[in-house]
């Protein structure tokens, strides 16, 4: 038993880094194969992908631009996940934050810049937080599965955005403008970090958000409470933690993070909100959080990987005529393998079927930190009992 534990420790430590790397390599290989099969010049595609990521200052800047919102949506998922909740509503929360942020960003232009920023960020955070907290409330009050409610709220938010960009009082009334909301005031636009690139100081805010996420979750008592609830809701009850309030709080904070991601993309990049400006960011954030194992550093690396692939994908499309959508496919494959640590054990038993004890492999505890993804707390407590 003891040795078992040791083995497992070793492997989980290793998996944290090895598994994502292995998944990346495997996904790139599969992507290569797919491109060959479809008759694309795969080598050239990957060359231009690389160029698009690291080829120039501008390329690197562009990778970081793509990384920025992913960090926010990933933190949004990770925060809820650490508290034992599944937040698939990052996209909706992001849009809600962006809407309310840009409503205030385009008005109140008389305010001093720092105050205006404060107001905008507060509004964006609140917009996302309220949207997230709805799911939390529905969960604790009505036991409604947050899995469904967050997805549904995504679509409601999308429709709301669609309404806002086409209807008064929110739409941009400039004559001849495409459906969009009015641009934010010039003074609140985020400054560029590198001249002649699109890299804006929102990236630094994303790093700050990661830092705050870390400090909150691992250094405060509230964060501790949330993590205990996520790990074992019964233990949280046992210690007298306000489990229900905490669930709503976690959803609110998660939503707020996504909302900040939305407004920062507007203030730094878009300047005005259009329909679908952040399409796919919510679910990509989920993927990034999973790949990064919900750890701050992991999220940073994973967000950069995904952001870089996105940025490089655009270059790939122009230079090698391979659709940039290919990148999403590769990203999907990365996650497939990255979240299946059981793969190795499985392969091992397949390759050595004569190894008498197939059941041995079934001992791999299903609840390693790396594996225990997204299992809702009420489900987790009835997980298989301890084995002798």
């Amino acid at each position: 038993m003891k040795q078992n534990a040791k083995q497992f420790r070793f492997s989980s430590g290793l998996k944290q880094l090895l598994l994502p790397l292995f998944s990346l390599v495997l996904a790139l290989a599969l992507g290569y194969l797919t491109m060959l099969l479809m008759g694309y010049d795969a080598t050239k595609a990957y060359q231009s992908l690389w160029q698009g990521i690291f080829g120039s200052t501008n390329a690197i800047a562009e990778s970081l631009v793509q990384t920025t919102p992913l960090i926010f949506t990933a933190v949004s998922y990770a925060l809820a996940f650490k508290a034992g909740l599944i937040n698939l509503g990052g996209e909706g929360q992001l849009y809600m934050g962006a809407v309310w942020g840009s409503v205030l960003g385009s008005r109140l232009s008389g305010l001093p810049t720092w105050l205006h920023w404060g107001v905008i960020f507060a509004a964006a955070f609140a917009g996302g937080a309220i949207w997230g907290a709805i799911s939390g409330l529905l969960k604790v009050r009505f036991k409604a599965s947050e899995l469904i409610t967050t997805i549904m709220l995504n679509y409601i938010a999308l429709e709301w955005v669609s309404f806002c960009v086409t209807n008064l009082p929110f739409k941009d009334q400039t004559a001849g403008a495409a459906p969009r909301m009015p641009a934010v005031a010039d003074n609140v636009k985020l400054s560029l970090l590198l001249p002649r690139t699109r890299l804006h100081s929102g990236f630094l805010l994303a790093l700050l958000a990661l830092l705050l996420y870390y400090l909150f979750m691992w250094r405060t008592t509230k964060g501790y409470e949330l993590r205990v609830s996520g790990q074992n809701p019964n233990a949280a009850l046992y210690a007298g933690m306000p489990v229900k309030t905490n669930a709503v709080l976690a959803f609110g904070l998660a939503g707020g993070m996504a909302g900040l991601g939305g407004i920062i993309n507007i203030l730094g990049l878009q300047y005005f909100l259009t329909e679908g400006f952040a399409s796919g960011l919510g679910f990509s954030g989920v993927a990034v959080a999973l790949l990064g194992n919900s750890q701050p550093l992991g999220i940073l690396l994973a967000a950069f990987l995904f952001g870089a692939l996105n940025a490089g994908g655009i270059r790939m499309q122009t230079a090698a005529a391979v659709p940039s959508a290919m990148i999403s496919m590769i990203q999907g494959i990365i996650i497939f393998f990255a979240v299946s640590p059981y793969l190795f054990t499985w392969l091992w038993t397949r390759l050595r079927p004569d190894q008498s004890s197939r059941s041995q492999t079934l001992q791999a505890p299903p609840s390693s930190a790396a594996i225990s993804l997204a299992i809702a707390p009420d489900q987790r407590k009835s997980e298989p009992e301890e084995k002798r």
Partner: protein, 514 residues
Amino acid sequence: MQHATEQATAAVPALQMKQITKRFGHFTALNQVDLSVNTGEVHALLGENGAGKSTLMNCLFGLYGQYDGTIYWEGAPVKITDTQTAIRLGIGMVHQHFMLIPVMSVIENVVLGMADNHCVLDLKAAARRFTQLSQTYHLALDPWVKVEQLSVGQQQRLEILKALYRHARLLILDEPTAVLTPEEVEGLFDIVARLKAEGHTVIFISHKLNEVMKICDRCTILRNGTVAATLKISQIRDRKMLARLMVGDETDLDLHESACSVGSQALLEVKQLSCRGDYGQLSCKKLSFAIRPGEILGICGVDGNGQRELVECLTGLRQAETGQYLVRGRDLLNCGARQLLKCGVSHIPEDRLKYGLASGMNLEENLILADYPTPAFARWGWLRSGRIRRHAQTLCQRYRVRFNSLKQPAAELSGGNQQKLVAARELDRQPELLIAVHPSRGLDVGAARFVQNAILTMKQKGTAILYIAGELDEVLEMSDRILVMYEGQFIGQQTRAEYDRTQIGLMMAGTPLS
């Protein structure tokens, strides 16, 4: 030596298991176990928790798929790799945790997965056959009610009928009495007798000696995954012998008990406490008791007589309906777990993995679970990591928790060390009142003694202790006084000087002392 006594019977063994070995990873749960069960007998499988009884039967029922050794069924060697094979051979098993689907009807549960089902189910015909069968065994059950509406005893009957419906000739009953009320136990014994009369073979898993003595013909005793002995019940003269075979030679691990002064003023007073159980039934009925500082009060009773609900009320996990809960005169009824912890109530929970630990978090974090918001570990909402680390270091050392790193998840510790971790956390708080539930469950003797001694140390320091455990012996050994709980009430009490097992046993079965 004991083996020699057994070959007298000429009956054909219905089942022989030879040299069965089963490993989980590096842990050998069964080591070359032999078991021989005759046709038409009730054969007991005895042993402590973790001796390998259930593992052996799971092998027999094909739940593991893989094992070493040979099984002979009615003389012929068979390989049982899945439950379907076992069922086809005529083996039926009633698991300790029922394998029933609550939201489905009785009859749906009965026919589920049967090999000779047609594509379209004819539940009515099945229900007729089921009713007939249940009448044969005097086990009336309505085939159309949902299982969730059945009582535990009825569910068990359903499990037995389910096996019989599949033409089982050998029935494995895995600790069938653990969940039953005394009357239901009697009912079960009748059923077993009837099964035997009908020519069925029964394997009866238990660790309760009196049950075994009452209904079994022979017994096989397992200890640490090996066979300690196989005996005829009629040859057993001395229960002590049986007990010794089960637990091995007298262990010389004594309790470090020394005289200590019990205070005179009650520290804990519970008055007229009533609460409801999970299904709205009144499970604690106006309970009143008191514990003085330095006193251990034990609560005995068959599981399910309200002990769990009582503990949950006292620890803030369940709302009480009425009553008073005074700790040093302060009424703490329904004031929440946090407040209770603050007022010096500690709780070693029944199920350490379910309540006591966040097993994915590391040792440091688990050790502050009860006191994380106090100034010792937090300031202005921020955790004080240095103090937390030092605290963990001291505690793990003091309570001899074996670990690799304080940053390793608690899940990686062995069961014994996990329990020590929980005990360390709860005892080190210097509680006024300690509520210890099954503190030695699933631990080896050494670890169990360690935890018990730690509790005794608390007693010397003047903590009032409420002690609840599954084994009567353990409760008697630890407590200065016991209360017997039956159907949500205290039916009697004895002090250490008066302990009388027979009387306590009678009270646990619902007979008050006149």
